[in-house]
Symmetry: C4
Subunit: 233 residues, 4 copies
């Protein structure tokens, strides 16, 4: 698991470098599908002092198999996402500014531009509010279940809509691996900012039409993609 | 008092580093409960030239016991806060951008998200307006008394709501020590920004429900806290 | 073509340095009018790894004459602009934040101040929406044709209005050479931000009057220009 | 004049360092009252290449007495301000973002907070619109005359209100010397941003009451000032 732990460390540090995280407000995990194990950031450890040895390894039931530190408080949320969507290889939670503002507005984020359509196929959903009973039961695990429930109910493919707004909380993003999950976090933050200002204008337009959303998403990620130097990137 | 003066210097420089202060617009003090003494930044001295020797030490009546420079203009405000709430070990005043915007809007800042609830238990109060007679009498001392009056009237615990908006002026924050007061200043500035944009949206929601505020505050600071590597951080 | 490729590389890196581009969201091309050849950034290559050898050279029909990499996805758009307006020597496409917000608002950007009038003679047009048939036909080429159509229909001189907002997408800018196109991108981004906040204020004024727009544009670029150390800069 | 030219160079570079200027959008001048001479930035020269030798020296009629370069396009505006208010020792013109947004909104900037009152005694005026005849006659000189006319008509003391918004254009600021004029530019930009967001909120309050504005201005600059280490700073 050495390599995965180093990748998870690198992903966490990358969040700070990209300006998505202040204090200790972000955590990256990665999933080794073969072994059924997840590597995740420890709780409340400053990024500047973190080493690969601090990364905690658990199975999908949350049983720690490597590491001396307590894992991220949000670990149970990450695990629910991996259990429901095994095609996901990395999950990220941050309180990045603009995505969090959308989560605080507690509404889906419409697709207002092709920058959005290049990476997120249509609107980014906001989850439903958690009930008081659910808070008392197992807050972080049920947060993950509500994320899974939302994606399924909306009929979204988690690979083509690689992120969600947790109601009144903040974003969760993901991808096939750590690099792609970090990139999706960067993109979500930027489109959240641009979409906020678009929404806010009194003449704010309806979402982009579906045909242009499809064109932009597919020229990057569709079966006949022609962006970049490879077929799919 | 050497150690406290160095800690106060470090806190002042940290405010600049975190982008909370331009020019000389911020001051940090710390309180030595045993000795009944407060160490505070001198007035109008550029941060780049400040040394621990410049930090002024006073008793709670404002009598200088160490230091050749005039203490911060806001010293009397700091002293009123220490006198009323001896559990506080450090007070900070800045004109950080977004917290000052809320102070200029002269309204309480509601809790719109869990980032806020993670550090401030419920809304951040704004003080009442100072009267003309109070301005003439002893402006800075009465500013401190109004802060104390506001916290008491609202039934707030100053440790779980570690900051306030001074009406038409700017924020005061505090904590059990300098590190915690600096962290609370950083958090207040970030949530002030995110809450501004949440409020501003025409569909701005009501504050978060109390149960989720309690969950988030308590998982970090409550008796059964499970965030970070220690019980309480 | 060595010199042009180095200039195109330099222009691409300058966009990153000026904060106009994150990830790989920008592309610069330059046109050698004598040879009828265009040098352009390759698709999806990180800026940090890009060398002058990676820059692709094509003729105006899109036939690659130098380079092993696939050219920018937006190449066909650049080519249409060079074909219609041979006075243009460099074209730039970015998703810079504020210009993209205007593109997402899908409206012309009025001239609200002399900073705008110093560089863009009057409003910056937004193109019409692309039709579904046009998307299916040749998306990038028709995007370029719509840009050309918009400039011509509005009676704009592409040198005195050196940029446009592509409907729901992002800005395209240009200039007589790479340096001037980069400068126009920087200016467009800054005036897009200032104009957004001007528009947004409930008392937002009408555009500046024509006489002041003419005065400011002409003192920099008119036949009797007196800004800078040369007649025309 | 060597010393004054070096001070003017330093002031110009300080504007860039403080983030008030991009490209060549700012100019600083200083006035030697004894000699009746003004030193000012040359027009359109990049800051990175500028030396003290490039600074142009003129008399109050605009006659160049030192320097080989053309002075700033805005020189005539600076001269009118020195002629009317000889207590001013330095004038600065920038297109700093937020002050320019207020100029583009073409309205006086009210005093919404004590940060503003600490440096600008009451609202910052916006000039009237220039007429078409005035544009044709001598644009920059009349811009200066309108600034002077505005300050006088409003009954403002240019030392206690050290700046103005030129209608549809951008700010001019000043001070007793270059350091003070630079500081006033930094302050104007910061309060312009905070006041914008205060104004913008639908519950935006009336300006601060006069008594608190007087208290804050006078504790820094009044006859019994007690801010900083000297009586007046």
């Amino acid at each position: 698991m050495r390599e995965l732990k180093e990748k998870v460390l690198e992903g966490n540090l990358k969040l700070v470098e990209c300006g998505l995280v202040i204090l200790t407000w972000g955590n990256v995990s990665a999933y080794d599908r073969e072994k059924g194990l997840v590597a995740i950031k420890p709780s409340g450890v400053p990024y500047a002092e973190m080493t690969a040895d601090d990364i905690v390894v658990l199975d999908l039931d949350g049983k720690i198999v490597e590491g001396d530190l307590r894992p991220s408080t949000d670990t149970a949320t990450h695990l629910e996402i991996y259990k429901a969507f095994p095609q996901i290889g990395s999950v990220i939670h941050t309180h990045s500014k603009w995505a969090t503002i959308w989560a605080q507005m507690r509404m889906d984020m419409p697709c207002f531009g092709t920058t959005h359509a290049d990476f997120f196929f249509g609107s980014v959903p906001c989850t439903r509010e958690i009930t008081d009973d659910e808070i008392d039961e197992n807050y972080e695990k049920i947060t993950g279940q509500i994320i899974v429930e939302t994606i399924k109910k909306r009929g979204k493919d988690p690979i083509s809509v690689p992120g969600i707004l947790a109601y009144g909380h903040a974003p969760f993003t993901w991808g096939k691996d750590v690099d792609s999950a970090v990139k999706n976090s960067v993109v979500l933050e930027r489109i959240a900012e641009m979409n906020y200002y678009t929404l806010f204008n009194s003449k704010a337009p309806a979402p982009l039409k579906q045909s242009i959303i499809e064109k932009h998403y597919n020229r990057k990620f569709g079966p006949n993609a022609y962006y970049g130097q490879e077929k799919h990137n």
